[in-house]
Symmetry: C2
């Protein structure tokens, strides 16, 4: 096992009716800015539950944070925070609203010249506005971690940032808030969480049985519960609850503690979103099978373990176990109507070339943290997915 530090102070309030406990989580005299997305919270009752719980508090609101939240939009909220001396940000929404709110929290107190440096130069965050969250989508894990991903529309860049100051003070997870989600958002969320685990599990073995089994437990749960939720006509509380808790556990630092992480699938996927506007999860489902196939030999040990323990594949030699695991993974995405080929999304060789050119221009020694995906590898991986 590798050495590690683990720290996660987010208080989780999980379960039906938990939004009503919101008022006990925020200082009474706080000046709150509620942040949200396209407005679904005003249709599904979540906004009303939040406002009811915050009766008597000083509350402003900022809506319109997009999926793949944009720097340009978020800077408008930063102005509000500065002008109105907001000291508590309450994100009500999914991962994009959470990520966007973390950026607002960091940028509002940023004293450098350009707030974009928080992403482009990973400028250090020395102070941040306190954040709380009411989660309405099970997907990114942002509710229990301190990072985010922001897109700059002007330059079609999508970059990550993070700071221990950006952990939410609390996150409220009520599975019932997910009942009104469009089905494709359920599918995206399950796919996103699944690939989060893979990025921390199908890497290189370091003799980490606890972490491996936690990862396998989350993956198996997503495989079982995801399609049940996706296909259900009447919501089953436990199915939603288990999917939601699995997604949170997928990216809160726990399964990454002491193991080799990767994130190459995400890095490549981000470019597909940046250039083509594809849903984040869809990009992951496109890239992952190609990456696994390309790294079949290098990541042999963990891929065989993934095949045997997650997909219960016992027959055949290692190579055929891996092939079957990759096929089953792609089938899993397809079973919840995620289209896993670039061609399905009208993305062609010249688009791949443009992405590869960007990686070449950036001259990073490797894409991701495992060291085994360089620009040439990304080319092979993407061309395999055409």
């Amino acid at each position: 096992m590798n050495n590690f530090d683990f720290y996660n102070p987010v208080k989780i309030l999980f379960g039906k009716g938990k939004i009503s406990e919101l008022n006990k989580q925020i200082p009474e005299n706080a000046k709150i800015l509620i942040t949200y997305g396209g407005g679904s919270i005003k249709k599904n009752g979540v906004y009303d539950q939040v406002m009811s719980a915050l009766r008597g508090f000083n509350v402003k609101e900022f809506g319109g944070i997009e999926p793949n939240p944009r720097y340009e939009t978020l800077m408008k909220a930063v102005e509000i925070v500065r002008n109105d001396n907001i000291d508590f940000l309450l994100a009500v929404g999914g991962g994009s609203v959470l990520d966007g709110t973390k950026f607002i929290a960091a940028a509002a107190h940023y004293t450098g010249d350009d707030e974009w440096d928080i992403l482009a130069k990973r400028a250090r965050v020395d102070k941040a506005v306190s954040i709380g969250a009411v989660l309405t989508l099970a997907a990114t894990g942002s509710e229990m971690n301190s990072g985010g991903v922001i897109t700059k529309a002007a330059t079609q860049e999508k970059l990550a940032f993070g700071s221990p100051l950006l952990f939410p003070k609390f996150s409220i997870l009520d599975p019932e808030t997910l009942y009104s989600l469009p089905k494709h958002q359920i599918a995206n969320g399950v796919t996103d969480a699944f690939v989060h685990v893979i990025e921390q599990y199908v890497t290189y073995p370091v003799d980490s049985p606890v972490q491996d089994r936690f990862s396998e437990g989350i993956l198996k749960t997503l495989i079982e519960e995801g399609p049940k939720v996706y296909n259900s006509e009447t919501p089953d509380y436990n199915e939603y609850a288990n999917m939601m808790w699995a997604a949170t556990m997928a990216l809160n630092g726990l399964i990454a503690a002491g193991v080799q992480s990767d994130w190459a699938t995400h890095m490549i996927g981000h470019e597909l979103t940046a250039f083509h506007g594809l849903d984040h999860a869809v990009t992951l489902a496109i890239v992952l099978p190609g990456l696994m196939k390309h790294l079949k030999e290098k990541r042999n040990v963990k891929l065989v373990q993934f095949a045997e323990r997650v997909w219960d594949i016992t027959d055949g030699d290692d190579n055929s176990k891996i092939d079957m695991a990759i096929a089953k993974t792609e089938e899993f995405f397809n079973s919840i109507d995620i289209k896993t080929r670039l061609g399905d999304h009208n993305i062609k060789q010249e688009d791949v070339d443009r992405i590869i050119q960007r990686f070449t221009d950036r001259r990073v020694p490797a894409i991701g943290m495992a060291g085994d995906v360089k620009t040439d590898d990304a080319k092979v991986i993407l061309e395999d997915r055409l």
Copy 2:
């Protein structure tokens, strides 16, 4: 899944050499009291590592905290904290030192008449001294939770307490500090951690696949790594590391989130320690097989799951699967030389009667939290273990 709150702000620093980072975890101007046990840290080099990392700090020390730490001993440390205005307690040791230090932290600022009320009346802790820990034993999980168990020698009482104020600010876990442990302490630690998981897992099903798989992952790891560590002549770092991380994960609140917990095995075991001075872990290994056997029907679902998933028992009907799982559990304890019968420890029917009398006198509606162990059940369980 049940509703739950989860909060665990303990920073974990895990791995070889991590004690050297101690100085970055404690405020520079802190008045530190180092607490420890029987003095093994002075023989195995841990004390020297700690003092070297704390060069330049204001440090006092308090040694002699016993296994099953005693109220009488700890109150002496409370006096030191009060007289010397200590504002940081650094526990260097195992679960007993950790638990004892939590009590010192709470009692030092207690304003009621009798500090024992923190245990006897579960009096609320409103203020506590900050705690950090250097763990030298993998067992109780106290390094990543906010509770403890203290014994009053005068009355032979052993009681639990806890408060969110008693989470350590940090805990340093260096598996190499375990290399010099006597073998029986390794066996005790593995047994203790194993039963911690069981208390949160073999209860009643609430449809919690993530939590169940995490529990199963910890149990399987303890079953694999425990005997390897116990029997090794030359220490293997990863075996120790995996055992240590499993023990921490066994009782940090994570696997308890959203499920039914029990703790009846602990409650009954505590009486065996209080009256007979048995090692804590040994009492658990005595009681658990009897408890499982007695609750075979009531806890049928989780016992079958335990048999199938943890012990890989696939043959036979449910009843025989459970019988085999109980037998394998007892064999596991015996394999690391834990003696699992009351008779092995010279405890007789009249001793059982005295324990039952105490439960009767206390008139608690049930022993543990699952509601299925009353005083009469404890009698059956203990008599089965004679």
